[in-house]
């Protein structure tokens, strides 16, 4: 039974996956150097199964949208920067929050996405949490200044979408940020 299945697999593999590695079969000969016909056990690994996965169909469909797609003039994209491991909005960025809140309250149909980011230090998934925490800090400040909940969404890219490359504080300071992106 097993042998038949193995042979069928090999035939199917040969037909479908010409050129791809197929699962080798292991046979133990009774004595040194002798050859044994037929296969009894199949290999432990999954050579045949790892072959080519077609690329995700819509992988490249997305684009870096958002920039300038707002219809509300010069405030289309603003960035708030944060200290290491912090999500408090520093005083020098209060005016960005205030003008965004005014924008949202005076244009009730306007929608704003807050993209939270961290620097590269630490684990990737925990950084997603920290980026979300920063985006939420900005969201709360906007709600306090009169923006409606339905106008604001958040997303965290963690450390996955840096603004600057490099592994020093100069780059990191540019990467610890929340970007305010008006949605079309």
């Amino acid at each position: 039974m097993k042998r038949i299945a193995t042979i069928a697999l090999l035939l199917a593999g040969a037909a479908l996956l010409a050129g791809c590695p197929k699962k080798p079969t292991i046979v133990e000969p009774p004595t040194a150097g002798s050859q044994v016909g037929g296969s009894s056990t199949s290999g432990s690994a999954n050579g045949a199964s790892t072959n080519g996965s077609p690329l995700g169909g819509d992988a490249d469909a997305s684009s870096r949208g958002g920039v300038g797609a707002d219809g509300s003039g010069p405030n289309s994209r603003k960035i708030i920067y944060f200290d290491f491991d912090k999500s408090e909005i520093k005083p020098e960025f209060a005016s960005i929050v205030t003008s965004a809140a005014q924008n949202l309250t005076s244009h009730p149909t306007l929608k704003l996405k807050l993209e939270g980011n961290t620097d590269e230090r630490g684990t990737r998934e925990y950084n997603i949490g920290l980026g979300e925490r920063r985006a939420q800090a900005v969201r709360r400040a906007l709600l306090l200044q009169g923006a409606a909940e339905t106008q604001i969404s958040t997303v965290s890219f963690g450390a996955e979408r840096p603004a600057a490359e490099g592994d020093d504080e100069a780059a990191w300071a540019q990467n610890r940020r929340v970007e305010l992106v008006y949605l079309p």
């Binding site: 040969a14 479908l16 996956l17 050129g19 791809c20 590695p21 197929k22 699962k23 080798p24 079969t25 292991i26 046979v27 133990e28 000969p29 004595t31 040194a32 150097g33 050859q35 044994v36 290999g43 432990s44 690994a45 050579g47 199964s49 790892t50 072959n51 080519g52 996965s53 077609p54 690329l55 995700g56 819509d58 992988a59 997305s62 684009s63 949208g65 590269e120 230090r121 630490g122 684990t123 990737r124 998934e125 925990y126 997603i128 949490g129 979300e132 925490r133 939420q136 969201r139 958040t154 997303v155 965290s156 963690g158 996955e160 979408r161 840096p162 603004a163 600057a164 490359e165 592994d167």
Partner: protein, 433 residues
């Protein structure tokens, strides 16, 4: 011992079923083991040119050397090259300080089919330890070679080899702002890279299904995070979580029926949930205003290890999956311990810890007193993942400003670096057997 092994990337265009990533990787053993076992892997004999063009012995020899547990004899120092046990002059090999010798042949068996026949001997007592043959087609000779190395490894060390396994990782190409992201599956030695998915937006957190057939991962292709499950054989994939807010950190339950994952409330509170992949039933596991993320299942499927900063900084906790189970904190040493991964025998937990300002891979003993050992010395060592035999941990590191993959033995004694010729590589995930 500082040894550089060059990994040729096969640029040969193969069938449409086999898209390949064209990355060249180099292994550098940065810290070997003094008591490595000396073995001679003699070049295999072959009656046919085509078979001879694939060097089985080199793959076996490289696998064994890379494990840090063996020292492979340089073939230039071999005074003869026997292909069967009958032709081994044991006294000569003993004088050359070998404990073991592997000999073999690649025998053509009709069109595109070969038998890899091999024998392992103890040089000191002439005992024949292994005698097998593996049947493979030409492209399968590489996998067959890894299987030879697995059998030699297990016979001599009593530990199952993990050379015939795979590693998934994320490769980032291009400079800002034009980056592209690839999810790649390669053989455990970095050879044979195949692109599973590519996107202009981030891909992260690949996780193997327990049967090794599928990967779960996070994709930002819609500029929002979604979790996908993709069947490797066909490339078919489906989106399993695209809820409002965070959809992150997928981890398969040991029976393959559920994912643990991280979701967020509207207020941005990250908690851990389980998702039944058949019924779509969602169960909340943690409920705390802090960040709870990076779940990993215990082998019995009854509890989850995870990262939480409920006590201030990130620390590792364990919680049962039943309602009302209270999380228990496991790490107390230092201010940053995150991203737990359980060793296959559950004797050890690997995680990322902060030490001297750097992020490093550490292990905690789960059977004894909870002793913590920091295994690496880098500044950016993250994303540890155990080989399925538990002998080695692969992780993401940084080398001269670039993201690279690295290996460290679970006892910390052997270290290696895997350097990619292009792009940044990150988030390795070792496949099951």
């Amino acid at each position: 011992m500082n040894k550089s092994l060059c990994w040729l990337s096969l640029l040969i265009a193969v069938a449409v079923f086999c898209p390949r990533a064209q990355a060249e990787l180099v292994v550098e053993i940065t810290n070997g083991q003094a008591e490595a076992i000396p073995i001679a892997v003699v070049p295999f004999g072959s009656a046919e040119e085509a078979a001879a063009s694939f060097d089985v012995a080199k793959v076996v020899s490289d696998d064994l050397a890379r494990s840090g547990r063996f020292r492979s004899m340089d073939r230039k120092d071999m005074i003869e090259q026997p292909h069967t046990g009958a032709n081994i002059g044991f006294d000569d090999w003993r004088r050359l300080n070998n404990d073991y010798i592997l000999v073999g042949q690649v025998q053509p068996q009709g069109p595109d089919r070969y038998n890899v026949v091999f024998e392992l001997y103890n040089v000191l007592n002439h005992q024949r330890l292994l005698g097998y043959q593996i049947s493979a087609n030409k492209p399968g000779l590489r996998l067959a070679s890894h299987q030879v190395a697995d059998m030699v490894f297990e016979k001599i060390l009593g530990v199952r080899g993990a050379f015939a396994t795979r590693v998934a990782y994320v490769s980032v190409l291009g400079r800002l702002p034009n980056r592209s992201y690839r999810l790649i599956v390669a053989d455990a030695d970095g050879e044979n890279p195949r692109i599973v998915m590519q996107s202009n937006e981030p891909l992260m957190s690949p996780a193997w299904s327990p049967d090794g057939q599928s990967l779960a991962y996070v994709s930002f292709e819609d500029r929002l995070p979604s979790i996908y499950v993709q069947l490797l054989k066909t490339g078919d994939r489906h989106r399993v979580s695209a809820r409002a807010g965070v959809n992150q950190a997928p981890a398969w339950s040991p029976d393959g029926k559920k994912l643990a994952l991280t979701l967020s409330t509207r207020e941005g509170n990250l908690d851990i949930y389980t998702l039944d992949l058949t019924t779509q039933a969602l169960t909340r596991i943690t409920d705390d205003p802090s960040i709870d993320t990076e779940p990993q299942w215990s082998k019995d499927g009854q509890s989850l290890y995870f990262t939480s900063d409920r006590a201030g900084g990130p620390q590792i906790y364990r919680v049962g999956i039943h309602p009302g189970d209270k999380p228990r904190r496991l790490t107390f040493q230092g201010t940053y311990n995150a991203r737990p991964r359980l060793s296959p025998d559950e004797s050890q937990l690997a995680f990322v810890t902060q030490e001297d300002g750097g992020y490093r891979i550490a292990t905690m003993d789960l059977k004894g007193r909870g002793d913590v050992q920091v295994l690496t010395k880098g500044r950016f060592d993250v994303s540890p993942s155990y080989a399925p035999n538990g002998a080695v941990i692969i992780y993401a590191s940084r080398d001269r400003g670039r993201g690279v993959l690295a290996l460290v033995s679970a006892d910390g004694r052997v270290q290696e670096r895997l350097v990619s010729s292009e792009g940044e590589v990150q988030e390795p995930a070792w496949s099951p057997f």
